[in-house]
Amino acid sequence: MKLMFEKSVAGRQGVKLPESDVAIKTSLPAKYLRSRTAELPELSELDVVRHFTQLSQRNFSVDANFYPLGSCTMKYNPKFTEKVAAMPGFSDLHPLLPQLRSGEKYAQGALEVLYEAERWLCEITGMKAFTMQPLAGAHGELTGIMLMAAYHKARGNKKKFVIIPDSAHGTNPASAATAGYEIISVPSDNKGVMNLSKLKAVISPEVAGLMITCPDTHGVFNPQIDEIAKLIHSVDGIMYYDGANLNAIMGRARPGDLGFDVVHVNLHKTFATPHGGGGPGAGPVGVGEKLEKFLPISRVVKRKNGSFSLDYDYPDSIGYIASFYGAFGVILKAYAYMLMLGKDGLRATSDHAVLNANYILSRLKDNYQLPFDRICMHECVFSAAKQMARGVHALDIAKFLIDKKMHPPTVYFPLTVKEAIMVEPTETESRESMDVFVEAMIEADELSKKDPAQFKTFPLTMPISRPDETKAAREVKVNYFAQEHDR
């Protein structure tokens, strides 16, 4: 498909701008001006509309396709929350208004949303307070690690290491390293969970804390999680809960009760806000008593008279981690979702997410190897080891599924499982759509026995076949104009 720049025709414009109604004829001195206009495309409104409509049709999406991307919780995104976020009272609200003197009176509705969303997350996770500011899961992780560092600094603790299971998301070690810690990686045991005795082998007074997803990325809830917490606390370490998998346990367990000191929650996963093709998300961070005084500023507080305001008076705070109060539009959608579901709806969400994952696990376990053959939580991990022996890799199976008009599961993650295929159906999928997926996976297994070579040609029905990723990295072309100039 042509790029917008290749469709450009000199003289076209997609928006009618107002004529100037002020008589200003002067300009800036030439030295402050650009030498030529920016090479943006010149397109009519219909040109632009057709271009982006056609682009959108080259995407799989939750609205159009089953999207069981493990660890990403690609659940359905309710439409009414989009309507709420587009209300002018929210979408046109300037973030600096409440920073004017007595300015909170201009943003009472928005501050109430932030305050109440925080209260909901506290009760769901068992934490004492939240900052709604982190702008993504990884940003929440970084914030959490900064809180951990602030705690140790205040206590005079000399800490050097953060312990992370080998099955963790790459963001965990990257976030801990960004905050200046060294990483100790602990292997999982044959049940798929971090092993207490292996943890004991690496624990020391220099351990700042543990970062863990619970249930972990193998889709298993660690039954010894409270004992792990005790061990980490015995060296004054901090327990960090990566909330990537919170969708499994709402109403069944709370990180705060399990001994976690700090958690981040991915609103774009558990609380149904759209993933946007890769953001914007939101990763609010909750803390227990121990870490509360270190939370970023500003914090939203409720005054005795019932009004809401921004409070900056926390001398131990780690400071500012975002320009404003978080991805407000995302938080608003998540809050609307929580209000609609309520207590029973949230619990049912986790129940059905777990039920659906186990249904897929049980239906595919004869065809695909299970690295951990047990009841799973909200996602199940298979290995394509048997298929690989026939010359068909997890990636090939993924491409086969694309031709079946399904977005493939996550492949090659977690790194601990060879040829991993990680399936997370979420609670919003019906049994029929899961059955179609299961049948396609069985068909792939059968085909891997009959004609493994055929897999290398998949997908056959997409606008493109498999791209040459090596070429992309070797001959870096990331800007249309640079290419033009280079030629």
Binding site: P95, G276, L339, L361
Partner: protein, 446 residues
């Protein structure tokens, strides 16, 4: 009843049978009794209609009515209807990171076009596919400069947004390098203050154009000096101004970042916004965040993929250039739709409109007795006004007259309690500006 769960009682029964467990509870056996929640005290759910009504009541409690002359880096620009219509296509907003390029060419090509548009605006060679927002993007740019130079000191001009400066300080106060800020000057950059600090330790000089006070500058001379000292220069820019102003590339900047909210995103009380980052081609391997690159498929057809992933956390883990995973792809696509609708000539005109309206506002405000419009340097669409009394008092009085009058500089700067920062975008009409000046005159008289 939950409209987002399809399973009926019959489905549940069949599925439990297939799994081989008697109840859903049995699936949670690993969560032992001692792990049970100590509390789960939440309200019952509401209907869709009830939630919409409740939130509409909250929306109406926010003051979006007053005519905005408030900016500070975040502006009330017009968002064309086609922009909102296109970004509301759920093929964009309900997809995820394009891990599977064959079924994600829509997102990938749109992000490639976004990168190209950012390069066109800034004049730089390469751009990434977005970062969270302008403030964190500037932090990432600074970390990138430290990696590129292997040096340990960063010089930040006092004219850089205090919102960004405070944020960067929070991120870095535990890290092992020196951070020096020059004093705030009201107009253009204090050359001498920067030059004095340039030594062999300086990794980067961070500048902003127009700066927080709205002052327009040409930083070419500073950049030349910084380069002579082996330092890089990071420019934070306001994209709309680049319809008119000298590009950071023309000035010689090494890394360019900015807040992209003005490119078709609603103000939305501070987010989600759009950080962007562009640089010279030679620096690309130290650039943080997702990058979309062009390649070909097996049939040699042009296509797009996430590229240079060896920089990223999911491959490099603790050795990655940044911990960032998700960016703000949807906001980037929204900005790209905006830029393609406004187009080459439109963007020039849009910038010019912003400039003219602000110049007109300056003239009108300067007529008010006792008010001084600061003219020590040229400005783009925001400027400072010295009032005869505390800016906060004036802002409150103006609110009751239907104007969000501006930002009180005393909030961030000592000794500037009487200064007001006024922003004027293309949306402000001549009548609104005249009425604003009239109201301001009345407020100051009373």
């Amino acid at each position: 009843m939950n409209p987002y769960i399809a399973n009926t009682a019959e489905d549940v029964e069949k599925m439990l049978k297939a799994i081989g467990v008697p109840t859903i509870d049995a699936l949670f056996a690993d969560i032992r009794p001692q792990h049970a929640p100590k509390s789960f005290d939440l309200p019952a759910g509401l209907s869709e209609f009830e939630v919409v009504s409740q939130l509409n009541r909250l929306a109406l409690k926010n003051s979006t009515g007053p005519i905005p002359f408030l900016g500070g880096g975040y502006y009330d620009h017009y968002v064309p209807a086609a922009c909102q219509a296109l970004i509301s296509r759920s093929e964009f907003y309900t997809a995820y990171t394009p891990y599977q390029p064959e079924c994600s060419q829509g997102t990938l090509q749109a992000l490639f076009e976004f990168q190209s548009n950012i390069c066109a605006l800034t004049g730089m060679d390469v751009a990434n596919a977005s970062l969270y927002e302008g403030g964190t993007a500037l932090y990432e740019a600074m970390m990138m400069a430290l990696r590129l130079t292997g040096r340990e000191k960063v010089v930040m001009d006092g004219g850089v947004s205090p919102i960004c400066r405070k944020l960067i300080k929070s991120y870095t106060h535990n890290l092992d390098f020196q951070f020096v800020e020059t004093d705030v000057v009201h107009g253009q950059v204090d050359r001498q203050a920067i030059l004095k600090l340039l030594d062999k330790k300086v990794a980067a000089v961070i500048l902003q154009n127009p700066n927080f006070f709205g002052a327009v500058d040409d930083h070419s001379d500073i950049i030349e000096q910084a380069h002579a000292a082996g330092a890089l220069v990071i420019e934070s820019v306001y994209p709309i101004s680049l319809g008119m102003l000298k590009t950071p590339a023309e000035m010689g900047a090494d890394i360019v970042t900015g807040e992209g909210q003005s490119l078709g995103l609603p103000l939305s009380f501070g987010g989600p916004y759009l950080g962007f980052l562009a640089t010279r081609k030679k620096n690309i391997r130290q650039m943080p965040g997702r990058i979309v690159g062009e390649t070909v498929d097996a049939e040699k057809r042009r296509c797009f993929v996430n590229t240079l992933q060896a920089r990223e956390q999911h491959i490099r883990r603790e050795k990655a250039t940044s911990n960032i995973c998700t960016n703000v792809a949807l906001c980037a696509i929204q900005a790209s739709i905006f830029m393609s609708l406004i187009g080459r000539e439109g963007f020039r005109k849009l910038a010019r409109l912003n400039f003219e309206k602000a110049e007109f506002a300056k003239e009108e405000i300067a007529k008010i007795k006792g008010v001084e419009v600061k003219r020590s340097s040229p400005t783009f669409n925001e400027f400072t006004v010295l009032l005869p009394k505390n800016a906060n008092d004036v802002i409150e009085a103006m609110m009751t007259r239907g104007f969000a009058a501006g930002f009180p500089l005393g909030r961030y700067y000592k000794g500037m309690d009487n200064y007001l920062l006024v922003a004027v975008t293309e949306k402000r009409t001549k009548d609104e500006i005249v009425a604003y000046a009239k109201a301001l005159g009345e407020v100051l008289k009373s």
